[in-house]
Symmetry: C2
Subunit: 130 residues, 2 copies
């Protein structure tokens, strides 16, 4: 599936020290939400998880996901990507170091069992309240 295109402003948020609320679906279909460091591969929203976390297990069962990207500098500015996740183990341990350096200024303490989640966007909503 082709992913809907992100704007330059959205890509800029994804490259900053910003967080996102990621929601996946439990086995019973109910939503479960957690916070992640957010990133982009230049085209899509991506984040890093572990192979054993609930959200990864959820996405293996049902790839549907919503990702609400928060602007850490403005609580009234955010955007939401809804779509389907692709999981990729390749390069995921290196990627968590990269994120940790950006967010914490140091390597990650436990760079193993990681997975990169790429979101193919079906819908993108952008909010900027006045």
């Amino acid at each position: 599936m082709a992913s809907r295109q992100l704007t330059d402003a959205q890509l800029e948020l994804l490259r900053g020290k910003n967080f996102a609320a990621v929601t996946t679906l439990r086995a019973d279909g109910s939503p479960q939400t957690s916070i992640v460091w957010i990133d982009t591969d230049g085209e899509r929203v991506i984040f890093n998880s572990t192979t054993w976390r609930a959200k990864t297990r959820d996405l293996r069962r049902d790839p549907r996901v919503s990702v609400l990207v928060l602007d850490a500098n403005d609580p009234y500015r955010y955007f939401v990507v809804e779509g389907e996740a692709e999981l990729d183990l390749e390069g995921a341990d290196a990627h968590i170091h990269e994120l940790s350096r950006r967010f914490r200024g140091k390597e990650f303490h436990a760079p193993h069992d990681r997975v990169i989640v790429r979101v193919n966007a079906r819908r993108i909503y952008d909010y900027r309240d006045d």
Copy 2:
């Protein structure tokens, strides 16, 4: 359904100028997430929406909801309430004024068609990263 009890620290976050990512389920079961001003009635997580918003329509169809409450002062501190929503029109227009005064220091510009959403918590997860 009885709601699981919130801690004093959680109630304090709910009484501050904090935001939450609310996720409801679309008709096809996929998650949709948006940001709200968050509040409490002293026992439960509550927020205010409009009768016509997607999340209100979703909750009328399927009351399952996740609410991730962010600490505006610490991106690594948050808690998540999962449960079922109850909608209440009574007092909802007055309640949006109350929230607007807390968050914006003034009355709300459009205090009509409002609904109070109360979340009966089935599960509560609390996160405080080091």
